[in-house]
């Protein structure tokens, strides 16, 4: 392909432009997190190209970086993207449930963090060897562990300012 590029500037232009289009399409697929390559032949083909073609990969990664996106992985689940805080694609806490007050939203955020920490409590659980093991959570189990932790912290620190206080009806579980 390099020979070809040097030989004809017009070819180079078109291949570069084509590659840019492909990069854009792959990123567009990646921005739809529920879309799986198994369900879209086009997506699967672009992902294969992303893995095999260094130039395409460089372009996708570069455009993504410019948009404030990091490519975390490109696997059977698709192009996995994460946005930096400055990115236009960033998800912010105030995007979350606009009908909520600031404090309630923070509590929801803490619960999200709690669920993540419940599924992956230790460094060992984040070991890539374990990554294909599905984590199962139940609301009751997360709630129990969160309340236990909060109560322990409350006993230790005394002033529950940002803690989730046990609900009076839950017998302080």
């Amino acid at each position: 392909m390099d020979e070809e590029l040097r030989a004809d500037p017009a070819t180079r232009m078109s291949t570069e432009a084509e590659r840019a289009v492909e990069a854009g399409r792959l990123l567009a697929f990646g921005l739809q997190p529920r879309l799986r390559p198994a369900r879209s032949e086009d997506y699967a083909a672009l992902l294969r190209r992303y893995r095999d073609d260094v130039q395409l990969r460089t372009m996708v990664d570069g455009v993504a970086a410019g948009l404030g996106l990091a490519v975390l992985d490109a696997d059977d689940y698709g192009l996995v993207l994460a946005a930096t805080e400055e990115s236009v694609f960033a998800w912010h806490l105030d995007n979350y449930r606009r009908d909520m007050g600031v404090e309630e939203r923070l509590l929801h955020g803490l619960v999200h963090l709690g669920i993540a920490a419940y599924c992956y409590p230790t460094a060992e659980s984040l070991d890539p060897e374990e990554e294909r093991v599905v984590r199962t959570v139940s609301a009751a189990a997360v709630e129990r562990d969160l309340r236990d932790t909060c109560q322990r912290l409350e006993e230790r620190l005394g002033a529950p300012k940002t803690c989730l206080r046990p609900h009076p009806s839950s017998n302080g579980r």
């Binding site: 990969r57 996106l69 689940y77 999200h112 993540a116 920490a117 294909r132 599905v134 909060c150 989730l164």
Partner: protein, 502 residues
């Protein structure tokens, strides 16, 4: 313990293999504590069969089996072990076996058993393992797969390499065939099929790991060697399996019966021999498919190595999310905690695509009333004033009287007559209620949402079936005016009144 134990490297492996069976024994011994006739069930056996069923779905055929199919298979087994067991109870047994294998009791964490390591001054050590685990397969969704420890449970010899187990299995099979023990050979062949599935699963997982991270998969020597070994092993397996198939077919010929004759003779041995050939052919297909897969594996490795060497290194996590992230955050003051939570969510939520303006949605958007945000509302408890709750205008006695009166209508009756009867009840306002009900039945289309009378009718008078008609006769009543309606028991005749009552 014997003094030689400390120097025996297989001792700890054997010990661990034994520990991995403990959840099954615990399940078996717990059954006496249960009600519902579990005591005659073999729960250990059921658990083993569950693992067998899972392994049958692993390898080239897929990543595992879904929970529903496994539960159904177990349910059938429970039912055949104890046909008189109640269906619900059999389902419960199947569920319990599955829950045990997944360690549901400890939120599906790994099982933890302690042992004393003779190689390390008998220090207490933890052996952690899973039996069944859930895997997320991009095509099949969430499926159950057997762990390495569970796999040991299906092999007759505990903790033996898969390859060795396959070789041993083939040797046993050959010997059984030579001695004409077809029944036993069929059983062995079934195990051979499971071992082939597991071997395929093992190889596919190594390839998968490599695709994700070639350094971890041991590109520096180990994996290519493993692939070479695997290819060689498979070639041996194929040769062995072909030999065995030939042998089994010769055995069939010796029996002097062709497949068409089987139906009539239906000899046990012949059917077994055919089954054996089928099983062995299945093994051969698995070997061939895996062999083809391995041939293409090497280029995958090289491509992946290229790709991954230039990729940015993956972030290694070296902290406990619960103890070293969540707990410290819960201790923080609110503004600081909010910053941490906000960046955590931004990082894990994935990208959010800003919604773009669409002309087609503009009018609807402009007409939509502004949403009140909870954050903007003053955080004040509203002062609630206690109000007398008026449930019904008509008392229970009045309602009972009206129900009694209307329920007793056997022939077409004029409203004026009903009113006269209504006024003979001691309860107040019965005439009023009867009039309202008659009007309602006369014009049911007025029944609309939020209409209290409609709900009241459905609640209290649902059992009364009457129809009301207007024949133009005027009502001569001191209190109510309008038409003297006809009230009759409902005989499924459409009412056709057009007049209106005042």
């Amino acid at each position: 313990m014997a003094s030689g134990v400390a120097g025996d490297p297989t001792f700890v492996r054997r010990l661990k293999a034994l520990l991995a069976t403990s959840p099954l024994h615990e399940l078996e011994s717990s059954k006496t504590l249960r009600e519902g006739g579990w005591s005659s069930l073999d729960l250990t056996g059921l658990s083993l069969v569950a693992i067998d069923v899972v392994v049958d779905h692993m390898g080239l055929v897929g990543s595992g089996i879904d929970v529903e199919s496994l539960t159904d298979a177990l349910y059938d087994l429970v039912a055949s072990q104890k046909p008189d067991l109640d269906r619900g109870e059999a389902r419960r047994v199947a569920g319990e076996v599955l829950a045990t294998l997944l360690n549901e009791a400890e939120n599906r964490r790994k099982f933890s058993r302690t042992y004393a390591d003779p190689g390390d001054a008998y220090e207490r050590k933890l052996h952690q393992f899973r039996l069944l685990e859930e895997r997320d397969d991009p095509e099949q969704g969430v499926v159950l797969a057997a762990s390495r420890e569970a796999v040991n449970l299906i092999k007759v010899a505990l903790d033996q390499d898969l390859e060795d187990a396959q070789v041993a299995n083939a040797a046993v099979l050959r010997s059984q065939l030579q001695r004409g023990r077809i029944d036993a050979a069929t059983t062995t062949a079934r195990e051979a099929q499971r071992l082939s599935n597991l071997y395929a699963d093992h190889i596919l997982r190594v390839l998968e790991t490599t695709r994700r991270d070639c350094r971890r998969a041991g590109w520096d020597g180990q994996v290519p060697e493993l692939l070479d070994d695997a290819l060689e092993h498979l070639e041996h397996r194929l040769r062995d399996t072909n030999d065995l198939i030939d042998h089994a077919q010769r055995h069939l010929e010796a029996l002097g019966i062709d497949q068409a004759a089987t139906e009539t003779t239906a000899g046990h041995e012949v059917r077994r021999a055919f089954e054996l050939v089928d099983l062995l052919s299945g093994c051969r297909r698995t070997h061939e498919a895996l062999h083809a897969h391995l041939i293409t594996a090497r280029p995958v490795f090289l491509a992946e190595q290229d790709r991954q060497v230039f990729a940015r290194p993956s972030v290694l996590v070296d902290f406990d999310p619960w103890g070293e992230l969540l707990e410290p955050v819960l201790e923080l003051q609110r503004p600081v905690a909010e910053r941490v939570v906000a960046s955590f969510l931004t990082a894990v939520m994935g990208p959010r695509v800003p919604r773009s303006f669409r002309l087609s949605g503009l009018v609807a958007a402009l007409l939509r009333p502004p949403s009140t945000r909870a954050a903007e509302l003053p955080d004040v408890e509203p002062e609630l004033v206690h109000r007398e709750v008026v449930d019904h205008k008509f008392s229970d006695a009045t309602q009972a009287a009206a129900l009694d009166l209307l329920g007793g209508v056997a022939a077409p009756t004029r409203l004026s007559q009903l009113l006269a009867r209504a006024r003979s009840y001691p309860a107040p306002d019965v005439d009023h209620l009867v009039t309202l009900l008659a009007l309602r039945w006369f014009a049911p289309e007025a029944d609309k949402e939020g209409d209290e009378l409609g709900g009241f009718l459905r609640r209290g008078f649902g059992a009364v079936r009457v129809c009301v008609d207007d024949d133009g006769t005027a009502l001569g009543d001191p209190i109510f005016g309008g038409a003297d309606l006809l009230v009759a028991p409902d005989v499924k005749v459409t009412t056709s009144g057009t007049g209106r009552d005042g």
